[in-house]
């Protein structure tokens, strides 16, 4: 999980010319393929269905906001957005709290069984919790958590713990023992050392762990599909499918809805692209 070096040069000094030209073409072509559909999605939000069918490539009249107004006023868009924020926020809070607790215990103390417990958490990385949906469903029913936001928070927390323990343990282990010893000599308690000495240093890793989990939780469709039925509790991706059903032949409104749904995370990504990339690939990149 070391920071990916931005500046290290992998020998650009020598080769160049044709090879680089081809690679540049590849990159430009790829970026076009990646961005063009997203761009069109946004542009079509400003068009009427007739314009989309008739003149798909023409630039729209950007002052025509009817589709966006329809989405914002005729559907429960803000409700879905709020639910997504609540559920993602709640899950991340719980994931970081529980994950950091376990990671700190495993990284800073050695005791019988600590390796086994660490491996137990790691095994969770390989487990697609989706496949346990039936028992989870019955469990949530028995806990009276079906069709609640809390139920989703619980499941996402369970899903996010392994990777958080993995990321945080890896980081906390790298912190020098001297810091801890110095604080201990000063008479600080274990809890004090964790809270005031170590955790402030672990903030970058917490950001990585938070992003690593927040993006999949924010985007998840599967668990709300099964666990949440009441419209006022639906998340953004789930609400989107409901409203797509209603406006299925009105492509203008449909693309406006898609654009609005993609907007929040896209803006945050563009502002924090480095942290996003690092966060989402952490675990795969050591």
């Amino acid at each position: 999980m070391s920071a990916t070096p931005q500046t290290r040069d992998t020998g650009r000094a020598t080769s160049g010319g044709l090879g680089d030209l081809l690679l540049q073409i590849l990159l430009v072509g790829n970026s076009f393929v990646m961005l063009f559909p997203i761009l069109v999605m946004g542009l079509w939000g400003f068009k009427s269905t007739g314009e989309i069918f008739g003149k798909p490539f023409a630039l729209p009249n950007f002052s025509n906001l009817t589709n966006f107004v329809t989405v914002l006023t005729q559907t429960n868009f803000f409700g879905y957005l709020l639910n997504s924020i609540l559920i993602t926020g709640g899950s991340i809070l719980a994931i970081l709290t529980l994950g950091t607790m376990a990671a700190y215990g495993l990284a800073r103390y050695r005791f019988a069984g600590s390796v086994a417990i660490y491996l137990f958490f790691l095994a969770g990385l390989m487990v697609p919790l989706k496949l346990a949906i039936i028992p989870l469903f019955i469990q949530m029913r028995d806990l009276n958590l079906l069709d609640t936001r809390l139920g989703l928070v619980v499941i996402y927390t369970a899903m996010g713990l392994p990777s958080t323990v993995f990321i945080m343990t890896g980081f906390l282990r790298t912190l020098p023992k001297e810091l801890e010893d110095a604080a201990r000599i000063d008479g600080a308690s274990d809890a004090r050392i964790m809270w005031s000495v170590m955790l402030p240093l672990a903030r970058p890793a917490m950001v990585i762990a938070a992003i690593h989990n927040a993006v999949p939780v924010w985007n998840d469709f599967f668990f709300p599909l099964i666990f949440v039925q009441t419209d006022s509790r639906k998340t953004l991706p789930q609400g989107l499918t409901a409203f797509m059903g209603e406006y299925t032949t009105n492509w203008g409104v449909l693309f406006a809805g898609l654009t609005l749904s993609a907007l929040p995370i896209t803006i945050v990504y563009i502002l924090l692209s480095k942290q996003f990339i690092q966060g989402m690939t952490s675990g795969a990149v050591k």
Partner: protein
């Protein structure tokens, strides 16, 4: 036995009289998959409140595709609504069998037994013969056509299959897509079979299937599929029909780009809503030769049921009684354009009247009515079979054999 039943019913009625008065906080949760009918339902509730002013009903709608899952999940979790729309036949049984629904009979819903038998059948649990929901509408499989486009091409609604082919040919020559139908949405492959082929299959075929005398390799079925296949091969369906999904089909027809739509009577209202200027009419599936009986495919769409565990059964029963009244039936039929099975309903809309007239000669919407109780359901088999056949990947005979083989895994008469 009968005495026992009466006793049980009386007991049930008695407990209802005693118990719910306390629980009757006057609130009912109503669930449906008809989000688009919300305004009309709020109006129904207003009607209901005239006589029952203390009952406050909340309306909640869910996506049709997810509704069965949503509902059974909620019921299993004791989080279900008090009164709900339920589907009919197999999907209904999935709810009624575990005991989630309250039994309805003459003592709590007087007059329920006067509903047409075909509609009650859809809400009767086969294992105990009891009714658990008030039927709300039947749906008819038929052909909807655009009268202006027919006039433009100089054709009349066909009576026989050969005339239908002739009509398609002339429409095509006039530059009009004959059928809006496409095959990308799975269930549209089942509706097209019933809408176009019912008359060719015939009531006798249905009887033979149910009694086990015939299966789907029967010549009547295979030949009918073959004729449907010929329509597709002659390019009389929507252009690149294998990629045309349900919303696109609706759009092709309602915007006047295609002349016919083989499907359900439930399309009529949305078509008119999408294009109020649309001039349409309906005809039943064409017969093979003149003089054969002309049939539409018919099924019960669903009913209104009361949650057996509702804390407010008394008001729930009052509400389904309202749903069983002629006052509701008239309004339901004439504002939503649905074919209410409530006895004595008058249809003011001539189109609805016409469909009701066609309904007099019907056969079942076969797979839903008879083979949607177990997996693989006849519907799933027919849908994927026809989709495959129309894509040119299977012959009609192979399709029939594949369907028979699938149903034979649980239906004894098909086992050879």
């Amino acid at each position: 036995m009968k005495a026992l039943k009466t006793l049980a019913a009386a007991l049930a009625a008695a407990t209802m009289l005693v118990q719910p008065i306390a629980a009757s906080a006057g609130e009912l949760k109503f669930w449906t998959w008809r989000a688009e009918d919300k305004a009309v339902y709020l109006d129904f509730f207003k009607d209901f409140n005239v006589k029952n002013p203390d009952v406050k009903i909340t309306f909640e709608a869910f996506e049709p595709q997810n509704y069965p899952t949503v509902l059974s999940t909620a019921m299993a979790g004791d989080k279900g609504p008090d009164v709900m729309m339920v589907r009919a036949y197999g999907a209904f049984e999935a709810l009624a069998k575990p005991g989630y629904l309250l039994e309805l009979n003459e003592s709590n819903v007087p007059g329920i037994t006067k509903f047409p038998e075909a509609s009650l059948k859809g809400e009767t649990l086969r294992s105990d013969g009891k009714i658990y929901a008030v039927p709300f509408s039947t749906q008819t499989m038929l052909v909807i056509y655009n009268t202006e486009l027919f006039a433009k091409a100089g054709v009349k609604p066909p009576e026989t299959w050969d005339e239908l082919v002739e009509v398609c040919k002339k429409l095509k020559a006039a530059g009009i897509t004959p059928f809006a139908n496409g095959t990308a949405t799975a269930w549209q492959n089942e509706t097209i079979v019933s809408a176009l082929l019912s008359s060719q299959l015939g009531k006798q075929f249905e009887a033979d299937i149910v009694s086990g005398k015939a299966d789907f390799t029967d010549k009547r079925f295979v030949d009918a599929l073959g004729r449907l296949n010929d329509l597709a091969k002659a390019d009389y369906l929507a252009p690149s029909f294998s990629g045309i999904d349900y919303p696109t089909m609706q759009q092709l027809f309602s915007s006047g780009q295609a002349a016919m739509f083989a499907g359900g009577s439930f399309e009529l209202a949305p078509f008119l809503k999408a294009n109020p200027a649309l001039k349409m009419d309906v005809f039943a599936s064409p017969v093979l030769k003149k003089g054969d009986e002309r049939l539409v495919g018919l099924y019960l769409d669903g009913g209104f049921a009361v949650n057996a565990k509702s804390a407010n059964k008394a008001d729930g029963i009052k509400l389904v009684n309202y749903f069983a009244s002629k006052q509701f039936g008239d309004k339901f039929a004439n504002t939503l354009g649905n074919l209410s099975p409530v006895p004595g309903v008058q249809f003011t809309d001539p189109m609805l009247g016409k469909v009701a007239e066609l309904n007099k000669q019907n056969m079942s919407y076969l797979m839903l009515v008879h083979f949607r109780y177990q997996e693989p359901s006849g519907s799933v088999l027919l849908q994927s079979g026809v989709q495959k056949m129309l894509a040119g990947k299977a012959t009609p005979a192979e399709t029939g054999a594949e369907i028979t083989k699938g149903i034979a895994t649980y239906y004894a008469p098909f086992k050879k």
